[in-house]
Symmetry: C2
């Protein structure tokens, strides 16, 4: 990430933090107004390592030396002769090109962004599609979104260590439906000769819920309770005898 | 956006700003530590309207009353019985459901996030896939990413008012290649009987650049210059006669 002529050291600190949350660590500062600065450290949270390793240079040319691709982050689409893409499209190109060499994403000042000359030094421009009526995206927030998109382009949009659900099988579900139909018919909840929309609605609800095996067991336990009434001696049986519909 | 028990009013201000950049305006605060507060206003930039309209409530239940879907933003995947998705997946479900009624995205405190009880009140949980070794995402930065994903899910990932390039046609490009081959052969730049890889390389370079009509004209002008030499009386002709290769 390259920040040009940043005014507020706090934004440099927040940028370091935003980068680190997405696994990025190389920060280059072109003529920052105040750096190093305690405010940058304060706002970096535990990303001070990114600040310590940051490189300060005196020109954009120096910042981009050695890069094989540079992308200008632009907040407005002023006089751009360059190709303009969204940051998501940029991220996917960045990740592909990063295999070939260093890639820079370049951000301008808080108040005016990159100059037209700075944009021209880059291969193309990218912007974050936002509310056209309020484009006041904070510098570190813009870095956060670019870094997030770059990470997702690199590692994929997926949940870390997802718990694998123990899903019920088709036949578990069919037995649940048979059980429910029997219990509800016996209870007079619907007329089996004229089921109307009740059973299809139940089927739809169960389909949407993508039940796990244990959830099917819980539901069948509840159906069994409705069918048989509470077992004598259970807490439910002792405390709420009124809910009993008799045994058998 | 629902923020629960936020400690720092500055984060409420930054959240308002982050929301507004993505066109969101409805903020609900559950027991904020300090609100209203001048620090919130200072950090909201010009999004003070979001702060002024913010609703302060005393419980998560009150915040979620009337919503048809609530999504818990979680930074870590602790003891979740809920379904867990990425914020991009959540955003697409949120946008679909928003047609049916109010949808909440719920954020916890800066230090510990949402409590397990708060997460349980939501329909499902979503997290931002980040650097597992450094998960210290700032509250407003997390709101920014969720708001960004929600906006892109709603309006699409596209460049605002892109300039439509006036692309050169296939036959424009073919004439450029013919011209280049003739000029380079005449100049002895390659042996037409043994073109090796020069012409295919040029062809590849031109294909990648997706030239516009005007760019083809510029390149053909340069080829013509190489072919004919500078016109007498042009600046190039006067100043750099050595570049002339003669007329014809």
């Amino acid at each position: 990430m390259v920040l040009s002529h940043t005014s507020h050291p706090g934004n440099i600190g927040s940028t370091a933090r935003a980068m680190k949350t997405m696994g990025l660590s190389r920060l280059v500062l072109v003529n920052p107004k105040r750096f190093p600065d305690p405010e940058a450290v304060a706002l970096s949270s535990n990303a001070e390592d990114v600040l310590v390793a940051a490189q300060v240079v005196s020109s954009m040319g120096e910042a981009l030396a050695g890069t094989v691709l540079s992308v200008a982050a632009v907040g407005h689409t002023y006089d751009l002769s360059q190709r303009l893409v969204t940051c998501r499209t940029a991220a996917s190109e960045i990740v592909v090109t990063a295999a070939a060499g260093d890639v820079a994403i370049v951000f301008g000042t808080e108040s005016t962004g990159l100059s037209a000359d700075e944009v021209r030094l880059c291969n193309f421009a990218a912007h974050i599609p936002g509310n056209p009526a309020y484009t006041s995206l904070n510098l570190a927030a813009a870095v956060q979104i670019f870094a997030y998109e770059a990470r997702l382009a690199a590692v994929g949009d997926r949940v870390r260590d997802p718990a694998t659900p123990d899903l019920a099988t088709h036949d578990d579900i069919e037995r649940l439906h048979e059980h429910a139909a029997r219990v509800l018919a016996n209870a007079g909840f619907y007329d089996p000769a004229n089921p109307k929309r009740l059973l299809p609605r139940l089927r739809r609800m169960v389909a949407k819920a993508r039940l796990e095996r244990e959830e099917v067991q819980i539901l069948r336990g509840m159906l069994k309770l409705a069918e048989d009434g509470p077992h004598p001696g259970t807490v439910a049986g002792r405390n709420t005898p009124g809910t009993s519909r008799g045994n058998g």
